[in-house]
Symmetry: C2
Subunit: 200 residues, 2 copies
DNA sequence: TAATTAAATGACCAATAGTCATATATTAGG
DNA sequence: CCTAATATATGACTATTGGTCATTTAATTA
């Protein structure tokens, strides 16, 4: 009876070890620059074994994106739990997203790579729903304008913040040089804009 | 005297023919799914010839991104020329960007692929500067809030709009299904938000 | 313990980006 | 006009890498 469970657990552990190895290799060399041979070596397994667990290289990257989504969702839920008023919850979620980018830029890139996919392909966690929840609570407690549609607003905030992070960081060298702008200024300017847009 | 010029012209034409062929193949099969052999066949040249003009496959895609930037910049400049007041210019630029996405989604994708690069690597045209120009004119004519920083605002609008287009369209199936949202609603809701954010 | 099942290996394969010796086309100079 | 020099294009080839699968090894079950 216990054998099957242990083996399942071991299989899960192996799967996670492979994903860990892939994170190391993909994050240091880029998805295109990384080879499955290198991942296999990092995992101390043969390349063929990787394909027992993941059908394609991209599926392995998808598993990494799943981790990113789980982590981001947890961060959002923490942000909500730390505040009472909706406007502050949304602000804290914005901060959490930016903190996520700073701490896990490679996870952010993995999310970008997979943004044409449904989140449910990777995990049942959903950061967008956490954001909807926070906006709703703000509308209910009166801290967020009641005329806003929570869902549309959430989608827009999500899109806007992702877009800003992309611009602020992916183009930060060019922006610094041509315009003496630094990314943090763009981020905080944008957060202020969003705040004033939402506040009742 | 005339021979060198004609040859230079022919060389430019060949280069453009190759880019045309690459657009066809890359846009129909995706960058990863497309092979240089297929591009060569579409261009009616040998594969080796492609490498006389472009060092790597990605450089060929970069030339496509350059076209996208030129086109978008032209659209932005037209939007400016069509209006007098800055607030309307910015609105028309927003519409132009969205129209660009609708008409040339593949160009939009090419821009996303290259957003970690400097625009100057591809072309001297710069859509961001057109946007800065429109915002400045709005601040000068009083139709846009004077407390806004034109450059930062432009960067933010650029990032937000790109982010929204990505979310609205790349996730449109999931959003429709889970939430009965359609992309156009998200886009116009967002444009309204931006408008009220800017308007003096 | 032997048979069965599960997991891992590593040699192999096909595809493709990129290379470069060779072939072909064009130009310039006598 | 002809030939040598220069420019351009070709296509066979190479190295690499994602993916495959027959075989080996390990674990479990009867």
């Amino acid at each position: 009876m216990g054998t099957a469970e242990r083996r399942q657990r071991e299989k899960e552990k192996r799967r996670n070890d492979i994903i860990d190895a892939a994170e190391k290799v993909f994050f240091s060399k880029g998805l295109d620059g990384a080879t499955m041979e290198e991942v296999a070596e990092e995992a101390e397994l043969s390349k063929g074994t990787l394909y027992l667990y993941f059908q394609r290289k991209d599926d392995l990257y998808g598993a990494i994106a799943g981790r990113a989504i789980k982590l981001l969702t947890a961060r959002f839920e923490e942000a909500i739990a730390r505040h009472v008023r909706g406007i502050e919850r949304v602000g804290a979620i914005g901060d959490a997203y930016i903190g996520f980018y700073h701490q896990y830029p490679d996870y952010f890139n993995a999310l970008l790579h997979h943004q044409g996919h449904r989140i449910e392909e990777f995990t049942s966690d959903n950061p967008l729903e956490a954001l909807v929840k926070a906006i709703r609570s703000g509308i209910e407690d009166g801290s967020i304008k009641s005329e806003l549609d929570p869902l549309k607003t959430a989608v827009i905030l999500w899109g806007q913040t992702s877009g800003i992070l992309q611009v602020a960081y992916m183009r930060c060298d060019a922006l610094k040089e041509a315009y003496a702008i630094n990314p943090e200024e763009i981020i905080s300017y944008c957060l202020e804009m969003i705040h004033s847009m939402l506040k009742a």
